[in-house]
């Protein structure tokens, strides 16, 4: 937990100093708690990434390749010709400042370089210096800077202080997307061996074992069995999901945290109950045991490399279509990148619900349906027996996870599900939900313990909105559809809005489902009494 109390941490001045921003110095020692540890050499080596070595941002010498400036210069040049987004976003910003106070990290830290415009300028100033006529001629007067070691250190600090949540891009009059710029900056840093371990280790794990957590196939089976036992204990329902089974209708892919850690495991039990309830013919895969993709926080090539296994496994197993579980960045990849990178998935069929007959033609090409889309269709068609009073101990609000919100526009589906599985639902203030939603501040690989102060700072806007509905409506449960949220929001709530717990949407679905042959359900999936608690 952050060493400062919430009150101490709140002493923030959003007005920057009068000084110039162009000469950076970052004292990593003094800023402990606001940056992440570098990628371990063994993980870089395993993945074949550049410049594996042991180093620390605290060191003076970051052990860069001798020609690192040239490498980055060439890297920028290559990306300018490959991505129109990058080229256009480098050229058209007018620094109007509309984005400035839209970033959760800026609001929670007051650090002016967390204003999205300035985060982008860190890279744009190098672009201007190296690639524009004005920058080459006039240098600083035209806003150009030379790429010095100090600038690179500043990149490391601030581009690993962006969660790629895209909130700023909602407000930008030109749609400049800081996530795109951060992705480019991280790719460029990868070329000289700068990355963080909380990203690189999951990437290496995922490549080898199939999931970020490094869970090997026998353990995967053990975990699933264990959770089935727990489920039986809580509900009396015995389920036997198949793994790696050929010929199933649906391959279900999910974030690995859901079969590993509290509170995701309860969401997992919710999935199991739902599929049992409707008798879905589905299988898990221990090989494609992760649909999350930390490649998104590494490089485009790495996204493709890690995402490869989804369609590859669907083809091998001979399934007809796919359902994806609750996870935010995972859905950005599944929605915006998978089909382009590893498609076309012409060996699959257009998803069709075997229960309702609904054809999901909005997924006609990629053949993957979000579980909230699937479940809301079931509810709408009256195919689920639900008792929302089983969630009466909860007064519920919903956190729109960044990517399902701003990369899909998945707003109504989870709300429709929630309104049908619980009786007390309250929205947070409108500037903090839907497309305006605030990040958990632990996305994009930043959800590690060493970065805790920055997480709590960036978590301020979300935490403050949660506290508002806690105080106003007695909200005690923050639901979300993201595995990173389920890992990062509990400490955030503990810090900013104590008394509020965190769950997935399908945990509440699981609680509410009336199963044939179930025990008397006096407790929920967590083993807590279902009835309303007072006080």
């Amino acid at each position: 937990m952050a060493e400062k109390t919430p009150h101490e941490l709140l002493q923030i001045d959003l007005d920057p100093p009068r000084s110039d921003w162009m000469d950076p110095t970052i004292d990593f020692e003094a800023r402990r708690g606001t940056w992440s540890y570098p990628g371990a050499a063994k993980n870089l080596k395993y993945m074949g990434f550049a410049n594996p070595r042991e180093w620390s941002p605290r060191d003076d010498d970051w052990k860069l390749p001798e020609n690192w400036q040239q490498i980055i210069h060439d890297g920028i040049k290559e990306r300018l010709t490959k991505y129109r987004s990058f080229q256009v976003f480098m050229d058209i910003c007018v620094r109007c400042g509309a984005c400035a106070d839209k970033c959760h990290f800026f609001i929670g830290s007051g650090d002016p370089k967390n204003m999205p415009v300035l985060r982008a300028e860190l890279l744009r100033s190098i672009y201007r210096h190296d690639f524009t006529a004005a920058g080459k001629l006039l240098g600083r007067l035209a806003g150009g800077r030379k790429l010095t070691p100090a600038v690179l250190k500043e990149w490391y600090y601030y581009f690993f202080q962006c969660t790629e949540c895209r909130r700023c891009s909602v407000y930008c009059p030109f749609g400049i997307d800081t996530a795109e710029i951060t992705m480019m900056a991280r790719e460029l840093m990868m070329l000289v061996g700068l990355n963080i371990n909380w990203v690189i280790e999951p990437v290496a794990n995922c490549h080898r074992t199939g999931n970020h957590l490094g869970i090997q196939p026998h353990t995967f089976r053990d975990n699933v069995d264990f959770l089935c036992d727990e489920l039986e204990e809580a509900t009396g329902i015995s389920v036997e999901p198949s793994i790696n089974r050929k010929g199933a209708e649906v391959l279900f892919v999910l974030p690995s945290a859901d079969y590993f850690a509290d509170p995701g495991i309860y969401t997992f039990m919710g999935y199991l109950l739902l599929f049992e309830h409707i008798g879905l013919d589905y299988t898990f895969s221990a090989y494609a045991s992760e649909a999350g993709n930390f490649g998104l926080f590494t490089s485009h090539d790495t996204i493709k490399r890690l995402n490869y296994k989804i369609y590859h496994e669907a083809k091998r197993l001979g399934v007809k279509w796919l359902i994806g579980g609750e996870c935010g960045h995972m859905w950005r990849v599944l929605h915006q990148y998978m089909d382009t990178m590893n498609g076309p998935a012409d060996f699959l069929e257009v998803p069709k619900s075997p229960v309702t007959g609904t054809v999901f033609d909005h997924a006609a090409s990629s053949k993957i349906v979000h579980i909230c889309e699937f479940t809301s269709d079931l509810i709408r068609n009256g195919k689920l027996k639900l008792d929302p009073s089983r969630n009466d101990r909860y007064r519920v609000t919903f956190h729109d996870s960044c990517n399902p919100a701003r990369a899909l526009g998945l707003f109504e589906e989870p709300r429709y599900v929630l309104r049908n599985v619980c009786n007390h639902f309250f929205e947070m203030p409108e500037n903090t939900i839907r497309e305006h939603t605030f990040c958990c501040a632990g996305g994009a690989g930043l959800g590690n313990d060493e970065n805790m102060e920055m997480r709590m700072r960036g978590g301020l806007p979300r935490g403050n909105a949660v506290r508002y509905v806690r105080d106003k409506h007695g909200v005690n449960l923050l639901t979300c559809i993201c595995a990173i949220d389920r890992a990062t929001l509990p400490p955030l709530c503990q810090y900013w809005a104590p008394g509020v717990e965190v769950s997935g949407v399908h945990e509440l679905v699981g609680n509410a489902l009336i199963m044939e042959g179930e025990n008397e359900r006096t407790t929920n999936l967590r083993g807590e009494p279902s009835a309303e608690t007072e006080g």
């Binding site: 919430p6 709140l10 007005d15 920057p16 009068r18 921003w21 129109r84 987004s85 990058f86 080229q87 256009v88 050229d91 058209i92 007018v94 400042g97 509309a98 106070d101 609001i107 002016p112 415009v117 300035l118 006529a133 004005a134 007067l141 035209a142 895209r166 407000y171 930008c172 009059p173 030109f174 749609g175 997307d177 795109e180 090997q216 196939p217 026998h218 089974r245 221990a286 493709k304 490399r305 890690l306 490869y308 590859h312 929605h335 915006q336 089909d339 382009t340 990178m341 498609g343 076309p344 909005h362 090409s365 889309e373 709408r380 990369a407 526009g409 707003f411 109504e412 500037n431 305006h436």
Partner: protein, 331 residues
């Protein structure tokens, strides 16, 4: 600092034109050669930039969605905020270009450490100023077409008449003149007085503001103070258009200051942030439909990357897979 440099730069430019004509008698250079060259640079520069942008592919479809997606038939989607097809994307882009849709969402974050409260206040000042500046600029530009065409079409006169609706002064002061100058002054003041915006501002942000102010004020001076001879001006412009240059005589230095500052603006445009004008058409977070799962988007340079294959994975974990009773492809 950036502001001062830019102010001095624009003042020097204006002075150059003033002296060149007043003292140096360089009317041909400043009245014919420079505007011509500037216009050529502008055209070539913009075309070069558009070609450069256009040649960079769009490898991924990455719209920022700001409304409900189109998914299930009974869920009402928002076809402009989250377009599911090309038409929606066109309307969305048009709403950005014509009405600055995203800027209209602007809020101001306020922090109250004592009450431990963060709030977001709707704020439309920037949107109003931006709309005023750009729309006024467009009308001012249209008004100038009366110098370029003979006879002046009816609808020009209608625009002019509407613009001068308030009938203040002789000649009439146009509403857009006032709006244009006021918006520029607001944007300038905002850059100087708002600590956040001051911090992010570069000389390149002040320069175009002062330059436009210079253009506007010299225009106003010509119309209302110096009362330039329109017939002479029209003759000069007809000269440009027919490539038979006419050196205007009988017009004051203010005309040359105005024309020179516009020339600087034209040359500056393709090399500066003023590129946001053509650029906004090409922003991939706005001009693409969110149809990713319905229609496959093709990346022309999709690299031939293969991940860890199932066969490799099975080989690596064979013993464990067997012990755990998994079905295997290769026994």
């Amino acid at each position: 600092m950036g502001a001062l440099v830019s102010l001095v730069a624009v003042a020097v430019l204006a002075l150059i034109a003033y002296l060149a004509v007043g003292v140096g008698d360089l009317r041909f250079l400043f009245g014919v050669v420079i505007p011509g060259v500037a216009f050529a640079v502008f055209l070539v520069g913009i075309v070069y930039r558009l070609v450069k942008w256009g040649r960079a592919p769009v490898p991924f479809r990455i719209p920022t969605t700001t409304g409900q997606q189109r998914s299930l038939a009974w869920i009402r989607n928002q076809p402009v905020e989250n377009p599911s097809g090309g038409l929606g994307a066109v309307v969305r882009t048009a709403s950005e270009i014509l009405f600055f849709r995203s800027l209209f969402r602007n809020t101001r974050a306020e922090l109250n450490p004592e009450r431990e409260k963060v709030s977001y206040v709707n704020t439309k000042y920037l949107w109003v100023a931006a709309m005023a500046l750009h729309w006024a600029m467009l009308v001012v530009l249209l008004r100038h077409f009366r110098f370029f065409v003979e006879p002046v079409p009816r609808w020009f006169e209608a625009v002019q008449l509407a613009d001068g609706f308030f009938q203040v002064g002789v000649p009439v002061v146009y509403a857009t003149t006032v709006a244009f100058l006021a918006a520029l002054l607001y944007l300038l003041a905002r850059r100087l007085l708002d600590a956040k915006v001051r911090y992010i501002s570069l000389p390149a942000d002040y320069f175009p503001l002062f330059l436009l102010l210079g253009v506007g004020l010299s225009g106003v001076a010509m119309r209302h103070l110096e009362k330039v001879d329109i017939v002479q001006v029209k003759a000069a412009i007809a000269g440009w258009c027919s490539f038979e240059p006419v050196v205007p005589t009988g017009v004051g230095s203010m005309y040359f200051v105005h024309v020179f500052l516009v020339s600087v603006l034209l040359v500056y445009f393709p090399f500066s942030k003023l590129l946001h004008m053509p650029g906004v058409f090409l922003s991939p977070t706005r001009n693409l439909a969110n149809s990713n799962r319905r229609v496959r988007h093709v990346n022309p340079w999709n690299p031939p990357i293969v991940g860890h294959t199932y066969a490799e994975w099975e080989d690596e974990f064979r013993d464990k897979l067997m012990a755990a009773g998994y079905p295997l492809d290769k026994e």
